[in-house]
């Protein structure tokens, strides 16, 4: 069984940067957002590595990375990401910040996926992050699946094990540190990945140079995405009402600290 794996993912500011919300001309934004170095959203990155791994094990498979994001910054991030694994890129040019509505992004992604030439829906696995480092709603992939009519959905995925008959087993994270194992009859399906099991592949410029042959034209062809945060205003932000008074105790055992926190939560 070979797959057509579409990984949805875009860029987020490098996690070490200072993120300061400001009111920009196009709605809420981060201070100096364009100037801050960006990385591929870590959740989506896990999905991409898993996709490449699956494609390698299932000859004849193809991997696309579909991104709604500012193409100039995306190009910069590709200089790193393109070296990791082989893929083809599809770009919709538009903002990718944490203030964009998940439904808008999902609609733009749906449009991009529909436009992929040669994509076969009966082999389609829609991969993405179960969350995003810039916006943790966990909604984009779900809405995208619905828009594309792909209703087999799994979220918080850490493992996908394909069987010879085209079915596969999925391990999803659930509450309380537990896992749910499900068997799915086959593609198409949506998988929102948690961390997966794979380490970050080392950079391989040879893979990068191969990928760039398709990536640069894809960036040049990028169509504008109708997404944004225009008109959105944040009236107020509040911290949780209950605050714990804390104190410093030298050499306190971790068990004691944990017990005290649990008691406080139980109230």
């Amino acid at each position: 069984m070979s797959y057509h794996i579409v990984v949805c993912g875009s860029i987020v500011p490098d996690p070490l940067q200072t993120l300061e919300p400001v009111a920009g001309p196009g709605g809420p934004a981060l201070k100096n957002e364009m100037m801050l170095p960006a990385v591929l959203d870590p959740w989506a990155a896990h999905a991409l590595y898993e996709a490449a791994n699956l494609a390698k094990a299932a000859p004849g498979s193809r991997v696309w990375l579909v991104s709604v994001g500012p193409k100039a910054k995306l190009q910069q991030v590709m200089m790193h990401v393109a070296q990791k694994v082989p893929f083809e890129l599809v770009v919709m040019d538009g903002p990718a910040g944490g203030f964009v509505e998940a439904a808008d992004t999902a609609a733009a992604l749906a449009q991009a996926v529909e436009g992929i030439a040669g994509l076969e829906k009966d082999r389609l696995l829609l991969f993405g992050g179960w969350s995003s480092a810039s916006r943790g709603t966990g909604a984009t992939m779900q809405i995208l699946g619905e828009l594309l009519g792909v209703t087999e959905q799994f979220q918080g995925v850490d493992e996908l094990r394909p069987a010879d008959d085209g079915s596969f087993e999925v391990k999803e994270r659930i509450e309380g540190g537990g896992y749910l194992r499900s068997r799915c009859a086959g593609a198409p399906a949506v998988l929102g990945w948690a961390t997966g099991n794979l380490p970050e592949p080392p950079n391989n410029p040879q893979v990068g140079m191969q990928n760039m042959r398709l990536i640069m034209p894809a960036l040049q062809k990028a169509r504008p995405a109708a997404v944004g945060a225009a008109g959105v205003a944040y009236k107020a932000v509040e911290l949780p009402g209950a605050r714990r008074q804390t104190r410093i105790v030298k050499d306190a055992p971790v068990d004691d600290i944990a017990r005290e926190i649990v008691e406080w939560i139980k109230g």
């Binding site: 070490l16 300061e20 100096n32 364009m34 100037m35 910069q76 990068g208 760039m212």
Partner: protein, 683 residues
């Protein structure tokens, strides 16, 4: 007023250093950065530098370099690499990324390239085809190990060091059967040889100890050749401990086909086609550029940790609530702390501008040099005749320099004609490279080491501890090695004292000075004045004699030529920073990423360039004055020369007007610039 918003990222660097359209190089940079800030930084943070020995943990570096394409970066795609064409800029940027965290790691990455460089530059086609792929990591599915190379020139005392002519390494004919390849016995002891813990291949400089071999050469030795291949004692070095250095002893028998570049048999004597001097000149001509840049990268790497330390210095204490100046700015409340960091920053930028200009020139020069060699071979022009042909091209090269800088006023058809003339371009580029390359190695490392000390000072006591964020103390110490290996400062000064008098280079300098004046940029007039003063001083010293009638500018008179070379380093670095700042100001507004921040970026960098120009002009003026007046020449004792020099010097001084205000603005910018929450590599 608009000023710097964030620390300059890749978008800024790609414009300034001109690789915005080179994806292969951008990828190499990303690859090197991810290794530097993970594997390398972890090794340093875990104290792996605290041993002279090469350890299994240090060897992880080689694996990381292999896996991420850095080992193969030196090779052409046909040999297993991924960058087409010359790779000087790519190697320079990779070295900078690694040195950003640790200089020894950068040395390790470059050392195998240095070991192979003699084969790369002067090896026969067979030698290249055999050895370069051997030293490329295996591709998936290939069953072999990656071989590594070392470069063995330096020898135990009293032989090769700065003086590379006094070789202790010897070769003799061991056996030469009729019609067969001669077998040579090679005796070579090395001192301070990098990569020696694991090198499989050593390119060694030796000279003949046998009437049947002529002169000297470099020869390829392999660890399994018959005889002794003793890796020797580790060097007890206190710097660059993430590289391997030992004093090997080799006594091996090898076929004469290992002579790099091959040999001819003339009247029963083996005549190597290249003497060792010719090979090392061609190798070092290129490999010294990345070394200079390593020190400059470290200066730039110090900015972020110093700003963070300064801002956070008083946070959490009893005095200074969040929102107060003490809390927000910490040590940045003090003008001196800010201004000294501006100096560190400007020095780092200027070094990078100079070194990367040299690296780009080297990339452009490589094909021109090959084309020149091809032309000469085609026309059968050899030896002295080559020199004569090049001398004949000098006038045209001078015309070319003038037309190139005529700012659209010259004759474009003539410019195009000269541009198409290989010998003209060769003479022009050779003149520039002959100065820019040693100037990078000399100025970036020597001045860089001193300025790195300032960076260490700015972190106080923490600065000289092992756990100083950004490893600043290590970086300071390491700079001393960068100033030493591949030819210490004396070697670069000696080299410059010969090349900096080349008329084509001097014409370029005149044109640069005129260009600076035309630019109207702040500080540019001071720098132009200093360039004019330097040119005047050189001319004066070349013609003049001291109070005892002894010639002033003379090969033996290092007291004259060496300081003048130092002064030139200052001036060139400042000049190339201006050039990069002009490029940034021109390109940033058109970049979707930088457009919004472009005015602030341009303003800040213009201030940095002005700060550096002022400093450079001051250094040069001081040196020139000492040389002009210091030898008690009759010409300057109140005579016409006195007036000429004094007015040049006064011009420089007066042109400093506003330079300190630029420094004030740059310093102020440091109080507001956004920095990340934490360093992106471990402490």
């Amino acid at each position: 007023m608009e000023t710097l918003r964030t620390l300059p990222g890749d978008d800024v660097r790609q414009i300034m250093w001109r690789y915005a359209d080179r994806f292969d190089i951008q990828m190499a940079v990303q690859s090197a950065r991810s290794i530097a800030r993970s594997v390398v930084a972890r090794l340093v943070a875990d104290g792996a530098r605290n041993t002279h020995e090469w350890t299994a943990r240090k060897a992880e570096l080689l694996k990381a370099f292999d896996e991420s394409g850095l080992t193969a970066i030196y090779m052409d795609p046909a040999e297993g690499g991924f960058i087409e064409g010359p790779k000087n800029l790519a190697l320079a940027l990779v070295a900078m990324e690694l040195a950003w965290v640790d200089g020894g790691a950068a040395t390790s990455a470059l050392a195998s390239c240095l070991g192979l460089a003699p084969i790369h530059e002067k090896g026969t086609a067979e030698q290249r085809a055999h050895y370069l792929p051997l030293c490329t990591p295996p591709q998936p599915g290939e069953e072999r190990t990656c071989r590594r190379a070392a470069f063995a020139l330096t020898e135990p005392l009293p032989y090769v060091g700065v003086d590379t002519g006094i070789l202790g390494g010897k070769m003799r004919v061991e056996r030469w059967d009729e019609g067969a390849e001669p077998l040579l016995k090679i005796e070579k002891r090395g001192r301070f040889i990098t990569n020696m813990d694991f090198a499989d291949i050593v390119t060694a400089a030796v000279e003949s100890d046998d009437p049947r071999i002529k002169g000297s050469c470099m020869v390829i030795l392999e660890k399994d050749d018959p005889g002794t291949f003793d890796r020797g004692a580790p060097t007890l070095k206190m710097v660059h401990q993430l590289s391997s250095t030992r004093d090997p002893v080799m006594s091996l028998t090898v076929p004469a086909s290992r002579i790099i570049g091959g040999y001819d048999v003339v009247d029963g004597v083996i005549v190597p086609r290249f003497g060792h001097g010719e090979i090392i000149a061609s190798v070092f001509h290129r490999t010294r550029i990345p070394v200079g840049l390593m020190t400059s990268a470290k200066l730039l790497s110090a900015i972020e940790p110093v700003i963070r330390y300064h801002r956070q210095r008083f946070r959490g204490g009893a005095v200074g609530e969040p929102g107060s100046r003490r809390h927000e700015l910490g040590l940045q409340m003090n003008e001196d702390a800010l201004q000294r960091l501006v100096d560190v920053w400007a020095t780092g930028e200027a070094g990078c501008s100079l070194g990367l200009a040299a690296a780009r020139l080297a990339d452009r020069f490589d094909p021109v040099e090959r084309e020149k060699d091809r032309l000469f071979a085609e026309q059968g022009i050899k030896g002295r005749k080559q020199l004569a042909a090049l001398k004949d091209s000098q006038e045209r090269a001078l015309e070319y320099v003038r037309l190139k800088h005529a700012d659209g006023q010259g004759d474009p058809a003539r410019l195009a004609e000269l541009e198409a003339d290989t010998l003209v371009r060769f003479v022009y580029m050779d003149a520039l490279a002959g100065v820019l390359n040693p100037a990078t190695k000399l100025w970036n490392t020597g001045v860089g080491a001193t300025v790195m000390r300032e960076a260490v000072s700015l972190v106080g006591g923490y600065g000289i501890t092992e756990d100083c964020p950004g490893f600043l103390c290590h970086k300071w110490m390491d700079s001393q090695l960068e100033a030493t290996y591949e030819g210490p400062e004396a070697v670069q000064r000696r080299h410059l004292s010969l090349t900096m008098t080349n008329p084509v280079f001097l014409e370029a300098l005149r044109q640069w000075s005129a260009g600076l004046r035309r630019s109207g940029a702040e500080g540019a007039t001071a720098l132009a004045g200093a360039l004019d003063m330097w040119l005047w001083t050189l001319d004066f010293l070349q013609k003049g004699a001291d109070s005892e009638g002894r010639k002033l500018y003379h090969g033996k008179r290092q007291g004259v030529s060496f300081p003048l070379a130092d002064a030139l380093g200052w001036l060139l670095a400042a000049r190339f920073l201006f050039e990069d700042v002009v490029e940034l100001a021109a390109q940033a507004p058109g970049s979707p990423v930088l457009a919004e921040a472009a005015p602030g970026l341009a303003a800040f960098y213009a201030d940095l360039a002005c700060v550096q120009a002022a400093r450079a002009a001051g250094e040069a003026a001081r040196i020139c004055a000492e040389l002009v007046y210091g030898y008690g020449c009759a010409d300057v004792a109140g005579g016409a020369c006195d007036d000429a020099f004094a007015s040049l010097r006064q011009g420089v001084d007066k042109a400093l007007s506003g330079a300190r205000l630029a420094k004030d603005r740059a310093a102020e910018a440091l109080t507001g610039v956004m920095i990340p929450e934490a360093l992106d590599y471990p402490l």
